[in-house]
């Protein structure tokens, strides 16, 4: 008889959703910290509220969307060079 496969915490999609929500909570907490911090940035815009968070989020979305479009131009089948 096959042993019952072990269930891991991450196997449950409810737990993955919990993790995802937890990440948002951490993100919002970090934004809140911005209100209390004294910043000394070389470029003044970097001191705006939530600059780094917004930049990171938008940079990654842009990165993925552009890379996805690049696939149309760059992607070939795995045996492309062996033809």
């Amino acid at each position: 008889m096959m042993p019952e496969p072990k269930q891991y915490w991450l196997d449950s999609s409810a737990n993955v959703t919990r993790l995802y929500r937890g990440l948002w909570v951490i993100g919002i907490a970090l934004l809140a910290l911005d209100l209390f911090l004294h910043k000394h940035e070389e470029f003044s815009f970097a001191g705006w509220f939530g600059f780094y968070g917004a930049y990171g989020f938008l940079a990654c979305v842009a990165l993925v969307l552009i890379a996805k479009q690049l696939r149309r131009v760059l992607m070939r089948s795995e045996g492309y060079y062996e033809r």
Partner: protein, 564 residues
């Protein structure tokens, strides 16, 4: 002790004896070599030693200063970790190649003149290709061949550049080199190939993922970092490097997002990290050079750790393709943990090594008012977390469970990964130890509240972007594919152009041959006809006609004379 003795020989000559040992004794012997070399370095005084007269030039085999010593230390640590990681490998050739390769990289670091540098430069190329060929597959053989050609081209640039530089300045010293002459430009091109400058970069992504499980880890430590060392030595403060580095930090991350082979993803992220170092050298301030060199140390360790974890996956499952993997944390929990330490380090999480090194380069860029460079580097920082920090562990160990059940990595691999992970965290928690070894005195504090919060915001929201894109299904799936890069030029366009030229030439040959033989035939017919009595060639010519032709010639001469 004798400071004239080239420390590289401990490893290169020591490698010759490796075939005499077997099993545990061999591992012990191979561990002893980098330890002995390390102790040797610790005892060396600063200065120039090992002078050799050659062709009227004085070669300097050992130049010992803070810069060369730090590279020496980290190269030896990398070698030591590699020996542990590869202890289970029976293939003697790989062990010998690794030692000779590491030894020649160290020889190049201590070279005080361009000729000594050239000799070791070539030796790194020739010894390292064996680590690719040792995979013993058709693909590896071809990739190794391409790699070797590119590396030897770099060596040729270095040699010709050095000779031109010598002619122009009368010196072969390996020190700051002016970019003005052809010599300076060629030497920069030679270094640029090793550093994987844009368009000169693709040997890296082409060859490293084709090497053996352990070979890729060895390769990742030395060649590109030797290129960075050479740049720091010869071209600090060269403004062009800021722009080259900025470009390097940005473009590979797009490839990394869509690449399926996870070791190739790491090769792209290596390119991106090299970009940060090149920017630092281009800025050239004390903080920037310190940052670039510190980041070399950090990068050697976390990149080794990431390649080690992917090597373990390749060893146990036979593949490192994102499209085939997933759920491996259940089978390889320790490897997963070590990989995540490497991922956190390359992503510059506070308390991990990248945080205390990369930020020096970022600060140097903002101090210098380099707005565009700073913005691009910040984009690249978010991007590297995205593709190396999240994508690598996510697709290999989490993601969709493909049902692969395998053993945890071998014990020696786990030990190597544990020590490397400890070093990554150690540097992050106690940056002072690394800062004390940098070329210039350090007046920089990475752990300020605003820096920590800013970096955490950048990273957490990058992770949120990944999670949102994943959950909405926008994130592009891992697909079995290759992506065209600059190697397409020499793997497809160049052979096609050659075939076209070949066809053109043989076409000309056929057409030309036909025309030529028709001409000969017509000439022969003509000669035969004119040889008959009354023919042009046998006819007797009257003197009158000769005088007439002479007059025509003289008249022609007269006309020409007046015209002029």
């Amino acid at each position: 002790m004798n400071a004239d003795f080239p420390v590289a020989l401990i490893l290169i000559l020591g490698a010759a004896l490796v075939p005499l040992f077997r099993g545990g004794l061999r591992t012990a012997y191979m561990l002893l070599l980098p330890v002995a070399a390390f102790v040797w370095l610790l005892m060396l005084p600063h200065g120039e030693f090992g002078h050799v007269r050659w062709l009227g030039q004085t070669l300097v085999l050992m130049r010992v200063d803070r810069l060369s010593l730090l590279f020496g230390y980290i190269f030896l640590i990398a070698l030591l970790l590699n020996v542990i990681y590869a202890a289970h490998v029976r293939d003697t050739a790989q062990h010998v190649a690794s030692l000779v390769y590491a030894g020649s990289a160290i020889g190049a670091v201590f070279a005080g003149d361009l000729i000594t540098l050239f000799v070791y430069w070539e030796l790194t190329a020739v010894s390292s290709v064996l680590l690719i060929w040792a995979r013993r597959s058709e693909n590896a053989f071809r990739a190794g061949m391409r790699y070797l050609l590119v590396q030897l081209l770099s060596g040729m640039f270095l040699l010709v550049g050095s000779l031109l530089h010598w002619q122009a300045t009368g010196s072969l010293e390996f020190a700051q080199i002016a970019l003005a002459g052809a010599g300076g430009a060629l030497i920069l091109a030679a270094f640029g190939i090793k550093c994987a400058f844009p368009l000169l970069h693709n040997w890296l992504q082409d060859a490293y993922p084709e090497a053996t499980v352990t070979g890729t880890v060895v390769l990742s430590a030395f060649t590109t970092k030797l290129g960075i060392y050479a740049l720091a030595r010869a071209y600090p403060g060269t403004e062009m490097l800021i722009w080259i580095g900025t470009l390097m930090a940005a473009f590979p991350i797009f490839y990394a997002v869509i690449e399926n082979d996870l070791r190739r993803v790491l090769a792209y992220s290596m390119n991106n990290q090299l970009g940060f170092m090149v920017v630092g050298i281009g800025i050239g301030s004390e903080l920037a050079i310190n940052g670039a060199v510190a980041h070399v140390v950090a990068d050697i360790l976390f990149k080794a750790l990431l390649f080690m974890s992917m090597g373990a996956v390749l060893l146990r499952t036979g593949t490192v393709k994102g499209s085939e993997l997933g759920g491996l944390y259940k089978s390889m929990p320790l490897t997963t943990g070590f990989c995540m330490v490497g991922a956190a380090s390359i992503s510059a999480f506070p308390l991990f090594s990248g945080f205390v090194t990369k930020s020096m380069i970022m600060t140097a860029a903002s101090d210098g008012g380099l707005l565009l460079t700073w913005l691009v580097l910040l984009f690249a920082s978010a991007g590297v977390f995205h593709h190396a920090g999240i994508k690598i562990p996510y697709f290999a160990f989490f993601s969709h469970d493909r049902g692969i059940r395998c053993e945890e990595a071998p014990r020696n691999m786990l030990i190597a990964m544990a020590v490397t992970a400890a070093l990554c965290i150690g540097i992050g928690v106690f940056p002072g130890a690394l800062y004390a070894l940098l070329p210039f005195a350090v007046d920089y504090e990475p752990y300020t509240a605003s820096h920590v919060v800013a970096q955490l915001q950048l990273l957490v929201f990058s992770a949120l972007a990944f999670a949102v894109l994943m959950r909405t299904g926008i994130y592009p799936p891992e697909l079995r594919s290759v992506n065209l890069d600059s190697d397409w030029l020499y793997r497809t366009v160049a052979p096609a152009a050659l075939r076209f030229c070949e066809r053109l030439i043989s076409g000309f040959q056929r057409a030309g041959g036909a025309m030529f033989s028709a001409g000969i035939q017509r000439g022969a017919v003509f000669a035969r006809r004119e040889r008959l009595p009354q023919g042009l060639l046998v006819r007797t010519w009257p003197t009158g006609s000769m005088a007439l032709w002479l007059m025509v010639m003289l008249l022609g001469y007269l006309v020409l004379y007046y015209v002029r």
